[in-house]
């Protein structure tokens, strides 16, 4: 399974969340910075302006050079002028210091700021954070009256304002931005899922349809909605599927026509052949009484009629397989006996080594006796024609755990074997391994028919060459071996089945007795 994040849905989700997070955080950060600056700037301007107003009004009322009580009075007045703001004021003149709150060390005031106030004659401010609390420190020199020339009086007023309100604003801002991020991310996830669904639904449809086509449902089509790229793709898919369906249908039509033609030809050949094969015995019997050439001609016609009959029979058989009209007539059989009878019916008992067949009653199974006969007769006939004798016929059952029992039939000959390039084609129709031998006794369909019959039983057939070294017992080695494997489903024990049937019968009888009584 692919990781959920590597799917289209996962990728869309990640992308949306990243974009949303980035956007929210950037907006938040910028907003925060601007707002913070704005809030602080405003409060600081406000403080400086009011300090200047107070210093102007109170500093004018003291005498110069000021005394300690003067400075104390200025500090107290300035501090008292803003009772709600918690102003702490320090007034200095040379070495004199006076604070609005007694014993105030005024630790926020840095020496650098003091000297800056002394030298610059303008308001100086600094934001100081001590112990997590920020405050604004403002220093303001007191200058004398006339504009233009403003000599310093040497008096400086310093002010410390705690900025708790401003800090509160900023903190609230951070919290607000933080709170905005979460819904934004949630919204992003939701949008991502919606978008993914919109994209993925057609994609999923497409996948389902493709699979359906692959499974052979060529009439699968997609509903085309809208006019986007996916709709285009669906449209193209539909066109492709239609074209595929059409060409497959055409191929099937052609194939069906070809098959029907073979079936029709074979069928049409049957009637004249029926008349001809009815009289071949007559020809054979009377040929002896005819003179040489005529007798030869008559025998030739007779024997070729028999071959032609077999060829047409085989063609009919093959067309039934092609048309899917071949069915199994299963019967419970003694397989070894069935094989022995196949040999006996063709007078092969003396030519074929049947020592490898189990004893009667040893191996039973369900098979179609007629088709099994065709399989064995074709394989043994092929071995007798193309391989060298002795030809062996073997049969055994192979048990495999968890699967059906398999009946294995082997036909072995002692010829030179089948060339490697021919081996894959031995079951092909009309395939002749030896091109010099343009015609043989067989119709050229025997092995194909055998293979079709085995397949109908759900089995397999294969051809191979015997391994001379492994067999060991034959010096010249080689020879072909045809192996048929037919599954034998585990059937209920016939005896048991019969007993069950008897019990049912008895039950029925008892019921009837009961009704009578």
């Amino acid at each position: 399974m692919k990781s959920p994040l590597r799917g289209l849905r996962g990728r869309l989700l990640v992308a949306f969340v990243l974009v949303a997070a980035l956007a929210t955080l950037t907006t938040g950060a910028l907003t925060f910075r601007e707002a913070r600056t704005g809030v602080l700037q405003q409060s600081q301007d406000n403080v400086i302006k009011r300090l200047r107003d107070h210093v102007n009004s109170f500093a004018a009322e003291i005498s110069y050079p000021p005394t300690q009580p003067d400075l104390e009075w200025v500090a107290a007045q300035v501090s008292r002028a803003e009772p709600t703001q918690n102003w702490r004021v320090l007034a200095t003149y040379r070495d004199l210091r006076a604070t609005s709150t007694p014993q105030d060390g005024f630790t926020e005031l840095s020496p650098a700021m003091r000297s800056a106030v002394g030298s610059r004659r303008a308001a100086v401010f600094q934001r100081v954070t001590t112990k997590g609390r920020s405050s604004l420190v403002v220093g303001m020199p007191v200058t004398f009256g006339s504009p233009g020339d403003r000599p310093a009086s040497g008096v400086a007023v310093f002010l410390t304002v705690p900025q708790t309100g401003e800090q509160g604003y900023v903190d609230a801002l951070v919290t607000a931005i933080g709170r905005a991020v979460l819904p934004a991310l949630g919204l992003a996830v939701l949008l991502a899922l919606l978008a993914a669904r919109g994209v993925l639904r057609p994609v999923r449809e497409l996948r389902r349809a493709t699979r359906s086509i692959a499974e052979g449902h060529l009439d699968t089509r997609l509903a085309v909605n809208g006019s986007d790229e996916l709709a285009d793709l669906s449209h193209t898919f539909n066109e492709t599927a239609a074209a595929l369906e059409e060409s497959v249908a055409e191929l099937r039509r052609m194939e069906a026509r070809a098959r029907r033609f073979v079936a029709d030809v074979s069928h049409e050949l049957r009637t004249p052949l029926a008349a001809m094969s009815a009289v071949t015995d007559v020809l054979d019997e009377d040929a002896d009484r005819l003179d040489g050439d005529t007798a030869t001609a008559v025998r030739l016609i007779s024997s070729e009629t028999v071959k032609l009959t077999r060829l047409v029979d085989d063609l009919m058989e093959i067309s039934r397989f092609d048309a899917g009209a071949a069915g199994l007539q299963l019967d419970d059989l003694d397989l070894a006996e069935c094989l022995r009878h196949t040999l006996a019916a063709r007078a092969w008992l003396d030519t074929v080594d049947s020592a490898g067949l189990p004893a009667p009653g040893e191996l039973r199974g369900r098979a179609d006796p007629r088709r099994l006969d065709v399989v064995v007769a074709n394989l043994v006939g092929n071995a007798l024609r193309h391989g060298a004798r002795p030809v062996q016929l073997r049969l055994y059952a192979r048990e495999s755990p968890g699967a059906d029992r398999v009946a294995v039939i082997e036909v072995l000959d002692s010829g030179s074997g089948i060339p490697a390039d021919v081996l894959p084609h031995v079951f092909d129709r009309f395939y002749k391994s030896d091109t010099a031998r343009t015609r043989s006794e067989g119709s050229g369909l025997g092995l194909s028919i055998a293979a079709e019959n085995v397949r109908l039983h759900g089995g397999t057939v294969r051809a191979a060459n015997r391994d001379a070294n492994r067999e060991g017992n034959r010096e010249k080695g080689g020879g072909a071996v045809f192996t048929v494997e037919i599954p034998l489903p585990h059937d209920a024990d016939p005896n048991q089945e019969q007993q069950q049937e008897q019990e049912q019968q008895k039950k029925k009888e008892m019921e009837k007795e009961g009704e009578k009584a």
Binding site: H267, R270, T271, P272, L273, A274, A275, M276, S277, A278, V279, T280, D281, V282, E285, V306, T309, V312, D313, M316, R320, A325, A326, G327, Q329, D331, D332, L333, D334, E337, C338, H341, T342, A344, A345, P360, G361, R366, P369, R370, L372, D373, D491, A492, P494, N495, E497, Q498, E501, Q502, Q505, K506, K508, E509, K512
Partner: protein, 253 residues
Amino acid sequence: MPRVLLIEDDRAVQEGVRLALRRQGHDVTVAGTGEEGLARLRTFRPDVVVLDLMLPGLSGLEVCRRIRTEDQVPIIMATARGDDTDIVVGLEAGADDYVVKPVQARVLEARIRAVLRRVGGAPNPDGGIPKIETHGENGELAIDRAGLTVARQGVPVPLAPSELRLLLTLSASPGQVFSRQQLLEAVWEHSYHGDSRLVDACVKRLRTKMGDPAGHPVYIQTVRGFGYRFQSGHQPHAQSQPQPQPQPHSQSR
């Protein structure tokens, strides 16, 4: 001289088969259509009918059915196609055997001989002395093994030769299970790998004629995966008798 009625529309086949069978010592009459065949049946009184299934006009199948309504003469059908459904339908219409065209004269001849042997040659150990067995409730089914007749509740049941022979074979050993292949050899004299559909179709016809319900047959019972057996029916004594087990059938010939 066995009398053969050949119902076949193709002139060449007519000629060939007639020629071949006549040389084997049969008295052959040919009918070109089904209607003509039915007419000849009454005048010629054949011992066996060879019937082509593909006939113009009245189909071979219909001819087969009509013959069976009035006559139990053995019928061998010749199917041109050898299609499985054709064979099954033909057998159920009442044909005793079938050959697939083109057929060699000696194969057809062998089938004719076999079917003719069936008419007179049922297992009959006691010669002409009537030997009547009764089966079923109150002995409703009576089989005369010597006279080769079957009656149900006193009414004669007309049986075709295959049906009669099959019934005689099965009822000779009540309770014994016969495989289809055994029955093919015993009744049809087919080779071992014969067509078991002959047996199934014949059993079906036999059950119908004997009034044996197909769902719960009383007399001829199917032993699934094995074959058939004859059950004597509901006689009070038959119940307590132990049922013989099916014997592994091995015909080493």
